[in-house]
Subunit: 445 residues, 2 copies
Amino acid sequence: MSTNPTNSMSTALLTDMYEYTMLDAALQDGTANRRCVFEVYTRRLPQGRRYGVVAGTGRLIEAIQNFQPSQDDIAFLADRNIVSTASIAWLENYHFSGTIRGYREGEIFFPNSPVLQVEGTFAECTLLETLILSILNYDSAVASAASRMVSAANGRPCMDMGARRTNEWAAVSAARSAIIGGFSGTSNLQAAKMYGIPAIGTAAHCFTLLHDSERDAFVSQIQALGSNTTLLTDTYSIEEAVATAVEVAGPHLGGVRIDSGDLAALAQQVRNQLDALGASEAKITVTNDLDEFAIAALQNAPVDSYGVGTQLVTGSGAPTCSMVYKLVEREGSDGNMIPVAKRSQNKATVPGRKIAFRSYEYKLATAEHVLSGSPGALASFQVPDNWRDLLVTYMLNGEATNAWTGKEAMLAAREHRAQSLSELPLSAMSLMNGDPTIPTLEHIL
Amino acid sequence: MSTNPTNSMSTALLTDMYEYTMLDAALQDGTANRRCVFEVYTRRLPQGRRYGVVAGTGRLIEAIQNFQPSQDDIAFLADRNIVSTASIAWLENYHFSGTIRGYREGEIFFPNSPVLQVEGTFAECTLLETLILSILNYDSAVASAASRMVSAANGRPCMDMGARRTNEWAAVSAARSAIIGGFSGTSNLQAAKMYGIPAIGTAAHCFTLLHDSERDAFVSQIQALGSNTTLLTDTYSIEEAVATAVEVAGPHLGGVRIDSGDLAALAQQVRNQLDALGASEAKITVTNDLDEFAIAALQNAPVDSYGVGTQLVTGSGAPTCSMVYKLVEREGSDGNMIPVAKRSQNKATVPGRKIAFRSYEYKLATAEHVLSGSPGALASFQVPDNWRDLLVTYMLNGEATNAWTGKEAMLAAREHRAQSLSELPLSAMSLMNGDPTIPTLEHIL
């Protein structure tokens, strides 16, 4: 698979400095080896959203396996006096040996859903905070936006064309997250290569402008790619372009793309023109700053697929999920685990490790249940009928329990999102601002 | 310098597929070697913004130098039949040999400012579209947001703490862009290492929770980092934490951080308490979803520095600059250069290569001037007094004209932004929604 930087390079400095200085202080004061449980969750969904989609966990597991400071990283930490020499020795042998559980990739989440649970020593867990949050916050933001777009598209395929509107490597992750959210392909070649995603594309206006005529450009594209290709029709007059396209490609023209103007009206005109010219199989792809609302508004227009850019890769108004990574339980000086919580205003946390379930009635989800309590109480909890356990084990004592990062895992996540969403009340699919589709109920056992 | 993936790995697949299929068709029809000029600009600033800040160009020049498909990339392009075997041979020898001019990093830009101009054959220029836009769109979005925050902070330092709220590699670029926008440091260690940015940090709530008491945590942090460190005070009661902090660190406590609640009121209480306890030198850092408006609202509060996260790395509501890459001029079949433009509805382009200047009166900018015309007219244009030429040469015939990527270039860009902003009317600093501070005037010579 190779070239994902996060998955082939050391990820050990994709952190905030305080993670290393806390490690250093804890190693000196003897608390570094206290066992800890950290949890990742979001306090709220973005404004008006009904649900979120977990994505990034597979990438994250690989990134954690590559979290080993290189000699270069170590030299930097030493030269800048970020940690003491004692810590350097510890870091040279660092390898995450803890256990990670969490929601499946593609799982629906709600406020306070414990989407990830990281258990290990304080030292090994605290170093991962930023890496975990970077990956889950961005990937889940994109998957959550993608999922709304896919629902709005109501069966028509959505294609990721957003690379140009976000950081060059964020784009690669975004393509993967879009697939998990239900998209069907990506224009981004690095993502196509790394994750085995279908690569898609048409042509740019510059290709038409490069040629002495639009006809020359169409002829060239068809000679190179076959008549099944998609021609871009809005460089000059759309009507003339469509006529030329069918003349050049014949009735088996693959499709046309419209990238400007009133897309619904234009799609209708172009459909009628294509049909009149005998190209009734030619598909119409529309692009141009689409989001879930624009896609929904095109529901009655004869559009065959949507190319989505900016709004996909920027989370359609919510470019982060605002997930946090909080210590909920740690070993005390007597060796027993103690639930802990901060009491910061408006940001207080719920102490103790959680277990999480979704309850169903007549096959539809009714609530998210997040339970905390003593280890004994959690272990002996009798799971009611029609409650689904939401936590799976990603890593056990430092070893990944499965291949979480490849194409199969990505496609499994895509399926899981579709299944999980189909089990929510229909209000989940509403684009109107509203509350989470089901409530999150916190239980203390 | 090393480990920036974009700058040490092949960047050749950080593209959209159509760039390779257009290349393929153009190589087959003989237009691939036509000389072209592409320009990067944005049609409008984000809603209400007065100006933008160019960032990313230095990173981009390095990324273009690394744009050479690896054997692995070539195999992918062949296996997926994205290009023909003739194109594969061409790609194996690809090296950008063109010329790139553009606005300096740190330069202020407005709608239609030609922030980058790429000149070369169609083949070599078209491949770069997505990479150029990804880097400039994201980096400039962050620098533009940073610049507004720095103005609002009015001399108090702003620190990047945003890594956890964006893609893990986007975060590294964001830290660099924040510095160009006027920020003073970053919590992100990878960015600190790659770009020589001052690394900053305090401690997380988990560090306090890990210990048997808040006092234990403070003692540990001070023993590891010295009394000049910054202690986090809002895990439990802020008042008690501040008292403990001064007891433990003594009057030379470095500072405290407040991360929740009403930051203005709390800063005032904490300042008074610190002063009463004799710790009048201790600094107050505030964090918690700050943006330029929150920073401006804290102007009268006794705050010493701002830690900014989400809103910095997501461009404070504008996560992309919506820059586009458009063909404006190309060689005709007779060998002469021809201005070209698309006529798409609402997205028409202005034909021809541009030159760009900013005019001044009494040392204040009055307008952005974007001029097009025949090569002769442009060459003989008499630049009026008090017009500043905005274009510099980054690459000449495939060679970088300077070291555009290192720490010095980043700091020069930071200075340039400050200088360039100081030459704008004061309305540029307004956070109220409004038009661009100066108009962009398009001239045809």
